[in-house]
């Protein structure tokens, strides 16, 4: 009875916070500056990407390095679907686009779905040889896959328009799309992690041999985590494409993956809420850290900014965290309203 009440209360709290968020977004959309809106869009998309990346790396403990590749696949897929045949004919000046793609045209929502499905399909193709053998090799296979996607994006002129990339993609992505996607992704992954599938994935992370021994099909659970993670990464890529409106093979570099890796490590590998918090922190933090790359003054002396210094700082942070603070912000814990309520009660009692 008490549990039931708690459950009802927690649902209400969640609903209330979503409504508060939506109201906030409504006002930002009306009155926010372009800069604020851009950062908010990035926060949402990166939060969803980080939460889905955390599913395979954190929850299941399999080291994938391909979210940038999946995002690239998603970006190209959805962009090619939302561009009209006429636009595509105009863009592909070196080699005309191949047949079925040249006439295909889909609304934004379906193009995003297709982006996710396409990325998931490639995850399936990669997962099959890797998970059958050693999970270890997933890291190198996905890293190699990132290179392959870049090579194909550069060379398959009649599909991807090669190094020229795709320009003039409609800017469909707004705060509703990006935050809608983030909320749906977080909700689905949260439920997935708490289901029996999620339990099995965690068991695989802690001890794969033991998980196998108690009858968990480790192959398919790793596969499920990998495919689901790729699906959302693909959609995220599609949203990014329709936010930036220009995509090229150099857009989705390993840098994107590295950013996501920082986020999930900082948040605590395996914690969905941790990934969410860290995604917002890092997206915002890397804006703040821009100052180290610009000239600044210390004690009247002009210090020239060092381009690229942010990445050096990020990599040092990552290594130091692995050595000294492996738990990150949240460890493997999750935020829950019960916990928040307990905290609040304790706070009021003190007074």
């Amino acid at each position: 009875m008490d549990m039931d009440n708690h459950h009802r209360r927690n649902q209400l709290f969640s609903l209330a916070s979503v409504i508060v968020l939506l109201i906030f977004l409504y006002f930002e959309k009306q009155y926010g500056s372009d800069y604020q809106i851009r950062i908010l869009n990035n926060c949402a998309i990166f939060a969803a990407l980080a939460v889905s990346y955390n599913l395979i790396n954190g929850v299941t403990g399999q080291f994938s390095l391909a979210p940038n590749a999946f995002a690239a696949i998603g970006a190209y897929t959805s962009a090619l679907l939302t561009m009209t045949p006429a636009e595509k004919e105009m863009s592909f000046i070196i080699d005309p686009i191949i047949w079925p793609l040249s006439v295909m045209h889909a609304p934004f929502f379906f193009s995003l779905l297709a982006a996710g499905v396409m990325a998931a399909f490639f995850a399936l193709l990669m997962g099959f040889p890797v998970f059958r053998v050693r999970g270890d090799y997933l890291a190198i296979v996905t890293l190699g896959f990132g290179e392959v996607v870049r090579v194909i994006a550069n060379n398959a002129q009649s599909i991807t328009n090669g190094p020229l990339g795709l320009k003039g993609i409609a800017d469909y992505t707004d705060l509703w799309w990006s935050w809608g996607f983030a909320l749906v992704t977080i909700f689905i992954i949260f439920r997935l992690v708490r289901s029996s599938y999620g339990m099995a994935m965690k068991a695989i992370r802690y001890d794969e041999a033991a998980a196998e021994a108690i009858g968990i099909n480790t192959f398919w659970h790793k596969m499920l985590a990998f495919i689901a993670s790729a699906f959302f990464a693909g959609i995220g890529g599609g949203l990014l494409a329709h936010l930036i409106t220009t995509i090229s093979p150099t857009l989705f570099t390993f840098f994107l993956t590295f950013n996501l890796l920082i986020m999930i490590v900082l948040g605590g590998l395996g914690s969905t809420t941790g990934a969410l918090i860290a995604a917002i922190l890092v997206t915002w933090g890397s804006e703040v850290l821009r100052i180290v790359e610009e000239p600044f003054r210390i004690a009247g002396m002009e210090v020239p900014g060092i381009p690229g210094m942010r990445m050096v700082i990020f990599s040092i942070i990552l290594v130091l965290m692995m050595i000294f603070a492996r738990q990150g912000i949240m460890g493997t814990r999750e935020f829950s309203w019960d916990w928040a309520a307990d905290r609040a009660k304790a706070l009021f009692k003190k007074k």
Binding site: P129, L143, I323
Partner: protein
């Protein structure tokens, strides 16, 4: 098809492949012992190239002295990475070690960009390696002959160390069972440091010859050769040094021959190693010479 053209391409392939092999040795040793994919290995190679470059063009050392210094210093860098980054996470979950490795790799690349600058630097080939020989109608670059010779010598030395010295025996023991080796009184950390030194030195040697082949260097030059060398290590059977060299040679020859006979596919040459990796995992996960590693 012109037979001399074919022979020439195969020789090019062997020369390129032996470089992959040299880099692969570091991967295979470290993976064999620690089950760690040392992502930073390709970047360690890059560091070696820059040390050699600055030795020649900044300090005006003779090329051979500069190369030797580069190889030694790179070995030191490898050991420092092990001590500073990998040793603290040795008993952590495996994924922590992998994340550390990717962090070190990214650190070296970006530190390289900041310190050395992103613009590629011309690596002028010493005259000693620049001659061209004409043997029975096949034109062979001196560099290719030297590459092969140096590779064979280094491979010989490394095999001697692994199979004929106490440290080498300890390495093989650790690869088999780390805990038991520790109980036998072996200083595990020292042996692992030696392993990193050997692997990094081999990578530096490979990298310098790589820099002479494509006479320029840049801070991101280690990524692709590193990736291909890892595939070479898997192809040869991970944990097996001779296998790594064999895998490297195969990948080098396949790559060069593919580009020579199917110029249309030249753009896809960097994707080829990946296709090979997937095929190995599907059909022969233990590689050509490997045995199944204990976990």
């Amino acid at each position: 098809m012109d037979i001399s053209f074919f022979v020439q391409q195969v020789i090019n392939g062997i020369a390129l492949g032996s470089l992959y092999g040299l880099i692969a040795i570091g991967y295979t040793l470290v993976y064999g012992i620690l089950r760690l994919i040392n992502f930073a290995h390709g970047d360690v190679m890059m560091v070696g190239c820059y040390v050699a470059f600055y030795g020649i063009f900044l300090f005006s050392f003779p090329w051979w002295a500069s190369f030797l210094i580069a190889i030694l210093l790179t070995a030191v860098v490898g050991v420092m990475i092990d001590i500073g980054a990998y040793r603290p996470v040795r008993n952590a979950p495996r994924i922590s070690a992998l994340i550390t490795a990717i962090g070190v790799s990214f650190l070296l690349e970006n530190l390289g960009l900041v310190v050395f600058g992103g613009r590629p630097k011309a690596f002028v080939r010493p005259d000693f390696f620049s001659g061209v020989r004409d043997i029975a109608g096949v034109r062979i670059l001196d560099l290719n002959i030297w590459t092969l010779l140096i590779t064979l010598i280094l491979l010989g030395i490394i095999l001697l160390v692994i199979y004929r010295t106490k440290a080498g025996r300890a390495m093989r023991c650790i690869a088999f069972d780390m805990e038991t080796t520790r109980l036998m009184g072996v200083d595990i950390n020292r042996i692992i440091a030696v392993t990193f030194a050997i692997g990094s030195a081999a990578a530096a040697a490979g990298g310098i010859m790589w820099a002479m082949r494509y006479p320029q260097i840049n801070p991101l030059m280690g990524i692709l050769p590193g990736l291909k060398a890892f595939v070479a290590a898997v192809l040869g059977g991970i944990g097996n040094v001779t296998g790594a060299m064999l895998g490297g040679l195969l990948i080098g020859i396949i790559e060069i021959v593919m580009v020579a006979f199917q110029p249309d596919l030249a753009g896809y040459r960097d994707a080829m190693a990946f296709a090979i990796l997937i095929l190995i995992l599907l059909f022969r996960p233990t590689g050509l010479m490997g045995t199944k590693l204990p976990d």
